[in-house]
């Protein structure tokens, strides 16, 4: 009975994304882990496609060595909240409405993601998200783990 209740509780309370202000982003605090840093926006369809895949990565790789950080670039926070009410996200989201961090990372398209190794060095940059290249993305992550 207790087990059943626990399963029920886990089923009704899925992991939810925590939303932070971009000023709270501290990439140095994640040193020692491989970081998949993703820049996205609610109006970008390929970004939406990448969400289930990013959720699956968190289940696939151990949280001690791998993490996903995403940066939302919607100027309107409402658009972001509306998107998140429809699309499941199990990772932390930092809201950057002015694109300050996006400018620093020289984003060329949406989404753009960076693979950062455990020493904090940017190793790979992906512009766009292509489901046919998911195997390559995962291979690149596994090489760093």
């Amino acid at each position: 009975m207790r087990k059943f209740l626990l399963v029920l509780l886990l089923a009704v309370s899925p992991l939810k994304a925590e939303i932070y202000n971009i000023s709270q982003l501290d990439l140095k605090s994640h040193q020692g882990k491989v970081v998949y840093l993703d820049f996205w926006a609610s109006w970008c369809k390929p970004c939406q496609k990448s969400f289930p895949w990013m959720n699956s990565l968190l289940e696939k790789y151990p949280s001690e060595t791998f993490t996903i950080i995403t940066v939302n670039l919607d100027a309107e926070p409402d658009a972001m909240h509306q998107f998140l009410s429809k699309v499941e996200a199990n990772f932390d989201i930092y809201h950057d409405p002015s694109g300050r961090i996006a400018d620093q990372f020289e984003i060329e398209g949406m989404p753009t993601s960076y693979l950062i190794d455990s020493s904090g060095k940017v190793v790979k940059k992906h512009i766009g998200f292509y489901t046919r290249q998911v195997d390559r993305y995962e291979r690149e992550i596994e090489e760093l783990l």
Partner: protein, 73 residues
């Protein structure tokens, strides 16, 4: 004379850098990605335009384009 050169250099740098921040950043394309911003968003309006171009200018097509404006395709 030297001051003239100095001002010439200053003006050249200012003019050259004037266009450095033009354009829309990828994360600012949300308005451009809206469906009603498409060239062919309104079918009736498109039909009128097509008719005008065809009858007055003997040209047709080229009213729409693919892609959502995210710059990733």
């Amino acid at each position: 004379m030297k001051a003239g050169y100095y001002w010439l250099v200053v003006c050249a740098v200012l003019i050259a850098s004037g266009c450095s921040s033009l354009g829309v950043k990828p994360w600012e394309r949300n308005l451009l990605a809206r469906e009603d911003m498409l060239m062919d968003a309104d079918a009736l309006d498109l039909a009128f335009d097509e008719h005008i171009y065809f009858s007055k200018e003997a040209s047709s097509g080229g009213q729409g384009f693919a892609g959502g404006g995210c710059g990733c395709n």
